[in-house]
Symmetry: C2
DNA sequence: CGTGAGTTTGACCAGATGGTCAAATCAAGA
DNA sequence: TCTTGATTTGACCATCTGGTCAAACTCACG
């Protein structure tokens, strides 16, 4: 393992290659189902070489998850108290759906982790995530109290958005098995848009 | 492995114990993350004893999945063309939500499999499941054309029901991390009910 | 260039894991 | 009770897997 100076050109390149390879492998097979060798090969390195950059399989996984958590939560973070309620929410939903389309690996990485009880990110859930959600549901509640959107359970509103949007990334195989050639997102966007307009119209 | 006569008392008991144990273990850790030893211990058997009843880990998994698929799809199967449209759909949703509450292991078993690309049940998806969904969406389409419920994309309507209801089983940890002590289903039921009433009212 | 830090690798290890097998034990009907 | 098929198990095996290590190699810079 290199010293703690500024990373060299090679270090930057290889670390990035490893994390990208790890995202491919972990999101497709889960933590336990992935092997260090797979990740190394995918990154174009030998196993010992990979372990020169990260001390263990677990360390790669942790680095990946914590590095992506911010990206993953950014859309909710951007929900703006000062904006137009309906537009803010619909724009949040659109961004989430777009992330399912463009970052399905990231979605499945978290899905894999969550469905197995989140053994490695439990803390982030009950701290950072909970705090963010509490903060944003407070805004939703306020909008509801002001009559700007319909009164619904704010936490379940958030859950429903997560469920509906991430479904298309996480259960992609199933969706495609049923839709055939039709692009899932083509129909999903207007469907979800309509759904929330009807639900939230005051 | 026993002859192909009628199963003995012991065979019935042990096979059932193995499948129940396998459901616990596979749903919590996924296929690759589960070990035969874990399942055997959970079933109260030694590993070789377990392998006397099922020829391999894969065979247990397959038996489990195919045995549960019918249970899992029963509510959709029961969607009745002759019933009242809104009531039929809402009752389907209620049953799905109840299954997430009462059979979360089953939900997570399928979720684990699907999120990893369904390597072991791909056929069932694009055949049995697709056929069932095609059949039922035809009914939905008809109801829409008759003006009994609002016009929405019928496939995405089904997807949304799956996503919203199974979310509470599959991502249970996350939901509980955010809701704290509050019972998730307490708030989920009225929320989802309202959501679909508003969406589908003609 | 030459040198020292940074990088890469072949060989290797220990433990986990899926699966086998022959021998021992048990259960139920004749 | 005796016999035969069903059941159970300890010992074992081959492979996979995460991880180590010393030696070899490469690169940047004085």
């Amino acid at each position: 393992m290199p010293k703690d100076r500024a990373p060299t050109r090679i270090q930057k390149k290889n670390r990035a290659a490893i994390l990208d390879a790890a995202l491919n492998v972990f999101s497709a097979h889960g933590f336990r189902g992935s092997t260090v060798d797979q990740i190394a090969t995918e990154a174009g390195l030998s196993k010992p070489n990979l372990l020169y950059y990260f001390p263990s399989k677990e360390a790669i996984h942790t680095a990946l998850l914590s590095g992506l958590l911010d990206v993953w939560l950014a859309p909710l973070h951007d929900l703006d108290e000062a904006g137009d309620p309906m537009e803010e929410i619909l724009s949040y939903i659109r961004r989430k759906l777009q992330m399912s389309r463009e970052l399905p690996r990231e979605s499945r990485l978290f899905a894999n982790e969550l469905v197995q009880g989140a053994p490695r990110i439990h803390d982030a859930l009950s701290q950072d995530l909970k705090q963010l959600v509490d903060e944003k549901t407070a805004i939703l509640k306020q909008w509801m109290d002001e009559g700007k959107i319909a009164q619904v359970h704010p936490y379940h509103l958030i859950f429903s958005i997560w469920a509906l949007t991430q479904h298309y990334a996480d259960f992609d195989v199933q969706v495609r098995a049923i839709l055939g050639d039709e692009d899932p997102f083509e129909g999903a966007e207007p469907f979800i848009d309509t759904l929330y307009r009807k639900l939230l119209s005051p």
